[in-house]
Symmetry: D2
């Protein structure tokens, strides 16, 4: 490895690998059966809460949080290795209290929350007692350009009044979801990047309406789900404003760096899982006189996957390391690059695995199709590839110009 893991991180990695083998993979089937037979899909499979307790007891808990007190105090580089492992199973992140959007929300509370907010929301989140959501995207505008966001947050005495039509509010269907961070305009006349703010909305506040769960391909991703949520004349105390009016973009930026690392490393974990399944399947199935594994066309598929995965992992680890060394702002190009590269690789590898599995790969008998849907979504989350490509291109041009000047 170009950069060794610390002994602490390496030990956590070993424990995590073992926990995955011992508990998480076997629980996938249990969760699947629960969802198929539960009278209400939007309830929590008991095995999840059991495993959460077990993970917490073993110290495999809140590993994402670099804060030494609230979390495990790992660097982004270190946590990336653990995050990848969690990404191998769709049920894993929650078991270790490392699931989006709670991770990002907890980071926001750590960075920007008042003591009271921390006590009220951060602590139960860190404990895994409640869950949270993040309401940013809107159905009515191209939210890839965040300046398009139309929701209004209007000061009225000691309160803010929120009116917003949001969707893709992941986790909002979860019965444990207690708090939302909502983005909207406090000042439509301000300078473009000062119009938006973020505010806390307790999920039981009158006016919060869960309109419907959205599906991704045919998945509802119960029991967390992705909801369309309308906020109709929702009133919250003025103290619920995060950081201050007009600072929504600032918070969004701070939230994005590590969050994208997490998304990407999980996507790479999903790719690793798919490649492992592909190889095992290829060993076990016979067609036209030999196992699939003996066929050169399958070996090529495997090789291409391994090459893509290694490159995407190195790129992501490099970005994580740059955040550790120089901060998320200095690593903007690196972060944008992985946001483009990692989901693509994950999609490619899972797609190849589906092809080797035949029809079986499309079903829920194997986690491939669901991982695929998840990875495909990542090409849109936090902005479509096109937006990031343009940003990377712009930054590269600027750097080349500067380098060129320096040499003359």
């Amino acid at each position: 490895m170009l950069k060794e893991l610390s002994p602490k991180a390496e030990q956590l990695r070993q424990e995590l690998l073992k926990f995955m083998d011992d508990y998480v993979y076997p629980a996938e089937q249990t969760v699947k059966e629960y969802k198929e037979t539960a009278s209400d899909r939007w309830t929590i499979p008991p095995i999840i809460e059991e495993l959460k307790q077990k993970a917490k007891a073993q110290g495999l808990w809140n590993l994402f949080l670099d804060h030494p007190e609230y979390g495990a105090g790992l660097s982004n580089y270190e946590y990336s290795h653990l995050c990848e492992i969690m990404g191998r199973s769709l049920i894993a992140p929650e078991i270790f209290n490392c699931n989006a959007p709670d991770t990002g929300n907890m980071e926001v509370f750590v960075k920007y929350g008042t003591d009271e907010q921390k006590k009220q929301w951060l602590e139960p989140l860190l404990n895994g007692d409640i869950r949270s959501c993040f309401s940013m995207t809107e159905p009515d505008v191209a939210s890839s350009d965040a300046t398009n966001i139309q929701s209004s947050i209007v000061r009225d005495g000691d309160e803010y009044v929120i009116n917003a039509r949001k969707w893709w509010t992941t986790g909002a269907m979860d019965p444990r979801c207690s708090i939302a961070i909502v983005m909207g305009k406090t000042d439509p006349d301000a300078e473009k990047h000062k119009q938006q703010s973020m505010i806390l909305v307790p999920f039981d506040t009158p006016g919060v309406k869960i309109v419907r769960p959205l599906t991704v391909f045919g998945y509802d991703d119960a029991p967390q789900g992705h909801a369309e949520v309308h906020y109709e004349n929702v009133r919250v105390p003025a103290s619920n404003m995060l950081l201050g009016e007009g600072r929504g973009f600032e918070i969004a930026q701070g939230r994005l760096g590590p969050g994208r690392i997490h998304h990407c490393m999980r996507a790479i974990g999903a790719a690793e899982r798919a490649l492992e399944l592909l190889c095992r399947r290829a060993e076990s199935r016979v067609a036209f006189g030999s196992t699939l594994a003996e066929k050169d066309v399958i070996k090529e598929i495997i090789a291409e996957s391994r090459i893509e995965i290694e490159q995407a992992r190195l790129l992501t680890l490099n970005a994580a390391h740059k955040i550790d060394e120089h901060g998320a702002k200095a690593a903007r190009k690196e972060i944008a690059m992985i946001k483009i590269a990692a989901p693509r690789v994950s999609i490619n590898v899972i797609d190849r695995a589906m092809q080797v599995f035949g029809g079986a790969g499309l079903t829920e008998d194997f986690p491939l199709a669901e991982h695929y849907a998840n990875a495909r979504t990542l090409r849109l989350v936090d902005g479509p590839d096109q937006v990031h490509l343009r940003d990377v291109g712009r930054m590269e041009l600027r750097e080349q110009l500067k380098a060129n000047e320096l040499r003359q």
Copy 2:
């Protein structure tokens, strides 16, 4: 157009286009709502039966069948143009009684059925009164190599006894499904391509067990569905054997040519629908100062899609025409080529459209993700790409060798 449509086909095309605009697209939402609210998803939305009657009344019925008496008597080339239009909506094929696997099954009855079988099964199928399914693929073996199929069909006096574990039996969940064509081994000791037979199994025969519906990327494709079906000591009269023992591959081959044309033209129709939706969306959404349609990166996406669609359509029409002129056997290479090319194009175009739609494209608010799942499935149906690529490569090598000899 390189080859003009006959006036009859052109008129049907115009009528079909109008019927789609007038009835089918608007019904998509109705069907969606029916499925979301029905107490049992495995029931038929009334709108479907209504539109079937309307289509039948207008003569937009059984257009797939080239038989002049049973069907519309169109050539494969002609029907391809109509089939593409039906492919634009996932609910359309059934409305015109042109949905798989019924189309292939009806062709089998026309070609290989006895008069009695035609009376009992073909007529109600042609009428749209019942539906049928086709049980070939097995979960336990790589069915891409059809010689792997393990199900047993054993003669016992005047009956055959069938024991089979099948899956991907599309349409088996449909409450109207009345008859299955089942493939299995009658003689494990025969020459490799003479071991398999096809036999008719009325779906209410004792021992037919629907184990479960399968999902494709989370979609259950209700109410037709794709079922795992077990046939346990199922007994049918010996006269249910199609064409004769050991002739399963022969029937499979005869069934495949037109069926693949249909699959491919529907996939192209889905791509056209996606491109249309993409363009409309691009005109209507604004990001970073202009509509998406004004951006060159979006124009490139549109152009690539148009170029791919045109090529895939021409390739498929060319294959259809070759079947018309020289028969399915002579067109084997052409058919294998479209089986590879058309689903890919459909996947590419729909994927681009999803990217332009953002999150909305992943939901059921638009038909994109479901069309995607459908097109992705096509890369596996009737064998994965890899099998067809090898076949095309082999045929090409043979032809090159022969051409080379002729020139010397």
Copy 3:
């Protein structure tokens, strides 16, 4: 075939195939040796002139020209089939007097030339006695945007004075090159698309300076070559102006349609040649225990190539047919599409062949690398892919919008 060839075209096709086998392929080696040993590469290999006479004698001459008197009177669709065959060998087009840029120039003379110009330039060109060139692209500006072209053509009494720095003037190195068509600005203040004109410059006019031959991937393409040509105060009679001042774009447009069909069909011919060579090589070479042809990875390469070629050919034939039926203007989208698609396919197939040939494929022992260089150039000739993609995207959006309106 979706559209049969006329008996006349079919017969020409058969004769052309035979001529290629009998004379052209064997002459490739002769030409190669001539070039390697000639004291001056910029002279004509005698075998070329011999074969020209032979081809002319057999009526395989000027087949590109649809004019019934000057040429063979074939439709674009018909000629496309012949053009593809000529494209299989880099020395072939000239042998049949069907090489660019002479073909386009002859078309310009037929369409826009005065009787006198026809007598002076068209007739010897049709006879293959002289050759011509076309000076449009300039090194100093992005000529993909033809409005950038800076050369000046200034009226001075009965003459025009031309000052121009041109390059990529194909054929200008040829000792037989006698006439150039030069594009430049007659009126920098006119409306954007009326500034440019085309004018005839006899190549022995004082002030015409051949600066140097350019290379394409190391090839000088002798003896035609691609020259940088400077026109320094070159004076020609006012009657040399083609069609009239400010009509340069009009001529360029008229010239482009058939010319792009030719380029694309030749590119497809090159791909066919490469695939043939690939297959033969794969049959004859053994590695790791079997011939390359027996390996599935090679069969996949062959299949992908065949699929791509068929599609590109159909797309190009379809465009040719549309020009025949509706004129080049109505076929603008179709022409732009093949301009993008056909060179790509040619590049892909030749590249795969090179990979199968190993090092041999990079040398001049086989025509692969030179065909590759040629096909790669096509992605830039008449504008880079990016320009055509944008155009196709724009036309598609317009058509979708219109279709949508019609349906409402």
Copy 4:
């Protein structure tokens, strides 16, 4: 950076960058002009020898060699960073005495040479006084499978008699080339991987015949060139056998690891150069109303290039580091992966740059097309991609199987 460079390596890197700017890039034009005007292309441009002296004087010499006495004693990881920089110019590697195949040959002498051989050949090579070549590939067999190699090396008393038809003997055209390492069969009856040996052949030995220079695309790569060389009854002392009879594969393996790192890092350097040129060109050219750099489609091209380069570099550095830590044998998969990935990336990036340059990119006015030809060659050197893909697939399957067993 995931792993920092040592201060020594970092300082060399800075000096190398400066040397490139000060001397190497400016010399490219001088070398080009020398070749265009020299009466004999197969002679050394004086500027090369001048810069060699300058580089040697500055200690920028033999940096590739990890041997602390003969070379700079840098690790593979460290040298990779320097090698990439040299790869930016095709004339650079020789200037720093780091050009293939001399580097590999020098490594062979260091590892396997006798003291006498070192004195006679290694020392003048290290001094840059002579050059060497490596004769392995044969025109008559698929040399991708090295067991195919047919040349014979027969013991006859105190001598070996060599009969071999070799080609792609890079450097053999160089007037300074003095020594060849030749691979051939000493024992056709031995076990497959013990049949081949490597032997030293002084280039002035009777029977060594340079048949012709080969071209790559249209480049002759003078004055080094790639020659077809025949060895006809060439007699050398028995002591010229390297390491011992039957150990040819062993030497080949030992030679390959670092050599591939070098090839790949140079390819990445070429990609960086191309991207730099692309960006500068895009800033300076205007089309359709804005600079190319302002267009989003160009920004995408730039971003894709940056993403690909970063990934390929990290993959290669990772492989270099693994060789440093665990030896070339343990790093076989890593080395095979970069052999596939790095040339592809280089090809992609250079190809995009050519597209942005338009016709200019194909000429020798810019180094793009020649770098392209070079990178394309790399997909064949040391075996085509297909061979390495199969190897990576096979190793991956083996590791997955093992990992799976360990977990159970």
